[in-house]
């Protein structure tokens, strides 16, 4: 078939357009983004379209010959290769770019970049995406445009690492075309510093930040940049210490890297390794490696974010981590260029994890008696400032029931705040231990013989709580001592397996009968908690004037009521978790004397929803007829309340 004659002037732009698509796919492939099979299919499509277009050129046309080479080499390009091999395979692509006529001005920067840099294809593709930048505009105008973009990002308040990476990547590419190699190094160095000023203001001094912006201003005015930081340190003792620390760092990192390479996308960074990265920037800074120190600062923050979000490291990040580990070898430092560091830094920013889409902006916490709405991110700071009593407590506070009674309320208030805070930030070990301590301390506050008071257990529990808080404050995973936990639980559940005691004989003093009611109801709730394996907190206030004849009736009526409320709340555990509320269910019972019998108020703090009609119907079936005038009230911020009257 004879090819239809198409003018070269129309054909070459079409070729260039297809080549653009091919390069974009190739970039994604080289950066391991997306499915390899899908990218390979799309690349093959682009390549065959290129070949089809080239068919319209004369057989001896150099463009047609190069397209033919590209088409043949493409299958090899799709295979995982060493970078050097990949670059060799890319040669026909570069040649193709070189020979496309100068009549296509947009391609000019591509050609220069391809000649100058090994990672040129990736750069060229990102360049192409922002093709409005350079082709027609002079260098300085493009630079000004970039600075405007950077200022916009800064003005946005909380600059997104990925957005910064896009602007800075353009800057880097722009420098590739506009500056000499010396200027390029200085520019790369400035770029690293600005990244740190923007994203980690806490680790840069105000003077350093000011100097950065001054240099940036000079750059836009087309002034030569001054020499950047020198990377030399001739302090042998210090270098030896740095080498020791860096070698240890690499040794600790190596097993994780091996595992991560074997199981990409699944492996989570362990907490000791996260901690290990805190000191890395300071070690590198001590050795005079300011560029690497900046990279390590950013890397440490990225690693921390992944760990906090419980996200596994992507293959791209694992490769970066391996690269960073290699850069910690001091023998590499002589040949290390600022451009190389900047390249890794920008790749890191591009792979920055996005914030959690379903993050809760604020959580309800009760500070003192008033419920408040606290931003989730501010909870750790709030907690760190709030535990004055817990930190001040000493052993004498727990030595006897009387001594403990003086501090019990203050301790309980801080423990409740801690329980809520730990639930909000999902430190479950602390939350559960707190719930247990609250239950234990509540039980220890009941009247008992001094010999029964668990002085040692309370003190050990308190010390262990502080240990857990120290671990949580250092972002370590708090590890509850299982033996102590078992001891605390055993004491807290004392008597729970015994049957409810029988009522005392008629004619017993009223005070004793009231105590009996309180004891029976507490025991009933403890049994319920044990059966359901769920923390329950129960407190009571009973009017002393309650007629003793009604007390057994109260006991009979309140038990199904309490069971109903607990089971109702238990169904909402998931909702409570989603709302960052504690797991423990908290109930308060108040009994007063009324005209028609005993007035009951049952308060639940964690639930603000009235039971539905069906649930209420079931409850009425279970309650004796002596329970009358059942009424619900829900109060925003302070839970729900149930009112009823128990009368004969």
């Amino acid at each position: 078939m004879t090819p239809i004659a198409i003018g070269e002037a129309r054909l070459l732009p079409a070729l260039a357009c297809t080549l653009e698509q091919l390069l974009l796919q190739l970039t994604d492939l080289l950066r391991a983004r997306g499915s390899r099979a899908r990218l390979a299919a799309e690349l093959a499509l682009c390549s065959s379209r290129l070949a089809q277009l080239a068919q319209f050129l004369p057989a001896a046309h150099t463009v047609r010959q190069q397209v033919s080479h590209v088409d043949k080499l493409l299958p090899a390009l799709l295979q995982p290769q060493e970078t050097a091999v990949q670059i060799r395979l890319l040669v026909p692509l570069w040649r193709l770019l070189q020979i496309l006529p100068a009549g296509l001005p947009d391609l000019a920067p591509w050609r220069r970049a391809a000649a100058a840099r090994p990672a040129a294809i990736a750069l060229m593709a990102s360049w192409w995406r922002s093709q409005q930048l350079l082709a027609a505009a002079p260098f300085s105008a493009a630079l000004h445009d970039l600075m405007r973009q950077l200022a916009t990002v800064v003005r946005s308040g909380a600059p997104e690492p990925a957005a910064i990476a896009v602007v800075l990547r353009r800057w880097q590419v722009l420098q590739t075309f506009g500056g000499d190699s010396r200027q390029l190094q200085h520019s790369a160095d400035l770029l690293q510093r600005i990244t740190l000023v923007l994203l980690m203001p806490a680790v840069t001094t105000a003077a350093d930040a000011g100097q950065c912006w001054l240099q940036l201003w000079r750059l836009t005015q087309q002034q030569k940049l001054p020499a950047g930081d020198t990377s030399s340190c001739d302090d042998l003792a210090l270098l030896q210490a740095v080498q020791t620390d860096l070698n240890r760092h690499r040794c600790q990192l190596q097993p994780f890297l091996q595992q991560a390479v074997a199981q990409p996308d699944t492996v989570l960074l362990p907490q000791p390794l996260v901690m290990l990265h805190y000191r890395l920037p300071w070690l590198l800074q001590a050795a005079g490696q300011y560029g690497l120190a900046r990279l390590a600062h950013l890397w440490q923050r990225g690693v921390l974010l992944h760990w906090q979000l419980r996200r596994p490291l992507t293959p791209g990040l694992i490769a970066l981590l391996a690269g960073l580990s290699a850069l910690l070898d001091m023998s590499q430092w002589r040949t290390l260029a600022a451009m190389q560091i900047t390249d890794v830094l920008l790749q890191l920013l591009q792979q920055w994890p996005s914030p959690q889409p379903h993050g809760v902006a604020s959580v309800p916490l009760c500070i003192g008696k008033a419920p408040a709405s606290i931003p989730l991110a501010g909870v750790p700071d709030l907690l760190a400032q709030s535990f004055v009593v817990l930190n001040r407590a000493d052993e004498t506070w727990f030595i006897s029931g009387a001594a403990f009674a003086c501090h019990a309320a203050a301790i309980a208030a801080e423990l409740q705040l801690l329980e809520q805070g730990a639930a909000a930030v999902k430190v479950q070990a602390v939350e559960r231990f707190c719930s247990l301590l609250l239950a234990l301390q509540h039980k220890a506050s009941q009247p008992m013989q001094q010999r029964d008071f668990p002085a040692q257990l309370l003190w050990r529990g308190h010390c262990h709580l502080l240990e857990l808080l120290d671990e949580a404050a250092a972002w370590q995973d708090p590890q509850v001592d299982p033996q102590l936990m078992a001891e605390l639980q055993t004491w807290q559940q004392r008597g729970v397996h015994e049957p409810l005691p029988p009522w005392s004989e008629p004619g017993a003093p009223a005070g004793m009968a009231l105590d009996e009611l309180a004891q029976r109801l507490s025991l009933f709730v403890d049994k319920l908690a044990e059966t359901l394996e769920h923390p329950l907190r129960f407190s009571m206030s009973i009017a002393p004037a309650l007629p003793s004849t009604l007390l057994p009736l109260c006991d009979t009526c309140l038990q199904p009521l309490l069971r109903f409320l607990v089971l109702e709340q238990l169904q909402e555990t998931t909702l409570r978790r989603q709302a960052h509320r504690p797991l423990a269910i908290s109930l308060h019972l108040r009994l007063d004397v009324g005209d028609d019998g005993v007035m009951v108020e049952l308060r639940e703090d964690g639930c603000e929803r009235a039971p539905d009609h069906q649930a209420l119907k079931r409850l009425r079936h279970k309650l004796p007829p002596s329970v009358q005038r059942l009424l619900w009230r829900t109060l925003a911020g302070s839970g729900r309340r149930l009112y009823c009257v128990i009368g004969e």
């Binding site: 020791t244 300071w282 760190a384 400032q385 671990e471």
Partner: protein, 117 residues
């Protein structure tokens, strides 16, 4: 006047060396110890103890509590994490001062003697 003594507890050779030099420049006689050594009472109680908050396998808050059980010296926590929580919890746990990196020798001097910087 006796030369004041200081103890540096840091499991990083580099950071311990840098801190030792800074404290020596401030006129302290400095000993460097490991976190394990801080778990027991020190034979020579120092005037000042500088503890790294986030060690490789140690927890500066716990070490601080341990130290304060045995000695009544001035305690400074050093943090590489730049978190406000470190300052708040460090003070709650009994530190006289918490220094966030990067800090200057002047800031270290102020923390060592208890002046507001």
């Amino acid at each position: 006047m006796n030369t004041p003594s200081a103890v540096v507890c840091n499991d990083s050779a580099t950071l311990a060396l840098l801190l030792t030099r800074q404290l020596e420049a401030l006129g302290y006689r400095v000993r460097s110890i490991t976190p394990d050594q801080l778990l027991l009472p020190l034979a020579e109680p120092p005037d000042l103890c500088c503890i790294e908050l986030l060690g490789n396998y140690s927890n500066g808050f716990k070490l601080l509590r341990q130290l304060r059980r045995h000695h009544d010296c001035r305690c400074v926590l050093l943090s590489a994490s730049a978190r406000r929580t470190d300052v708040a919890w460090g003070r709650a746990a009994g530190a006289h001062a918490v220094l966030l990196r990067p800090f200057t020798v002047e800031q270290l001097a102020h923390s060592a003697v208890g002046e507001a910087s």
